[in-house]
Symmetry: C2
Subunit: 220 residues, 2 copies
């Protein structure tokens, strides 16, 4: 991505003040999210599928079963990627000016197949270790059969934009005098205490990488 | 929606055990979410846009600026709706069997324009009061001009499915002996304390509908 979007499809038509074209803002939103939605089409029918993603440099990656319709249909085709993070409800003195605080990133591009097995393996490890640093050293490594059953797709981050809203409501000037509560109800994702698998050997400690994950992704 | 999907596009190709076709499960997921993603196409280019939605009976509604490209492009066209709620990270003893706990609903249909002004107004009030019961009695009502500037779309809930995963990891039998922590890291959305608008008249109490909203949507 350059400092501006390349084509009409990623130009923000409205709310220009909420658009953030710079790479740093875009990466900030991408790195804060975990779950994205991929939009794609099959014979003119739109589909949208939620999935997990990760970033390495200027590339985004996602994965799934090689049998997945979504992955097969998006491979080599134009897709639209969105991640949306809800930060709060903005209650104005009118419904019209009520809004939400959010961070959202939308990208357009062609989904490419990561074909080379070693690179596929490396990317899947990056996904796991990106969430739980070092976990791939502890778990059973992926088998060749599992690797075949897994498809990894990538998309270059070169066309897209971030939209961010924060702060209090912006009401019509004459509405500020109304005797109605206005403000923001902030929301955020939090993690609970890890729940051990019922079949876990008693006394197995919760590893540091899970504490790191919670501290990094779900800080109090 | 009948008890089974109508066409190929909504048939679950994989993870059949995770599909829940019944209306109750589908409504349960729809009513738990607030933010959805709408997939649509313009000249063969897929788009996906996050937006808010509400349900009345067998209809889903969403809204936005009448100038919105998404709303104009989806009106009268086939769209794909998804809401995905992340409930936890499922850490198995292999990357391959690691997963997430989630509730997701995908619907297909034609997006219809809610044209009649009184019905549009009623739906927008339903949206506000559905989140904050009674708030429309307190805020400044929508003006005719604002109503014109707002587009409301609807889609009948008659083709779609819910997918739900819950519970601990399911590992390969031989992996259970590995000395690695496995289990679930639950996540959920929570609301923080309401933040009054800096321009709010001092002493304006937080209304009961905001307490209800937090208790209903973001219980501790």
């Amino acid at each position: 991505m350059t400092a501006s979007p390349k084509s009409d499809r990623s130009r923000l038509k409205r709310s220009h003040h909420r658009g953030a074209y710079d790479r740093e803002a875009l990466h900030g939103v991408l790195d804060a999210g975990i779950l994205c939605h991929i939009g794609y089409g099959i014979d003119g029918q739109p589909y949208v599928t939620p999935t997990f993603y990760w970033r390495e440099g200027d590339m985004l990656y996602w994965h799934g079963s090689s049998a997945s319709r979504m992955l097969r249909a998006s491979k080599g085709h134009q897709v639209c990627f969105n991640v949306a993070l809800l930060d709060g409800f903005v209650l104005a003195r009118s419904g019209f000016h009520s809004s939400v605080n959010y961070r959202s990133a939308t990208l357009f591009g062609e989904a490419e197949f990561v074909a080379e097995p070693a690179e596929k393996r490396r990317q899947l490890d990056l996904f796991v270790d990106g969430l739980w640093p070092g976990r791939t050293n502890e778990i059973r490594p992926i088998t060749d059969q599992e690797l075949k059953a897994t498809t990894v797709l990538s998309m270059r981050i070169d066309e897209g934009s971030a939209k961010i809203r924060s702060g209090p409501p912006i009401d019509d000037e004459e509405d500020y005098a109304l005797p109605v509560w206005a403000g923001v109800v902030p929301v955020r994702q939090v993690a609970g205490d890890p729940i051990p698998d019922p079949r876990l050997a008693p006394g197995t400690p919760v590893p540091e990488h899970i504490r790191s994950f919670i501290a990094a992704r779900y800080p109090d």
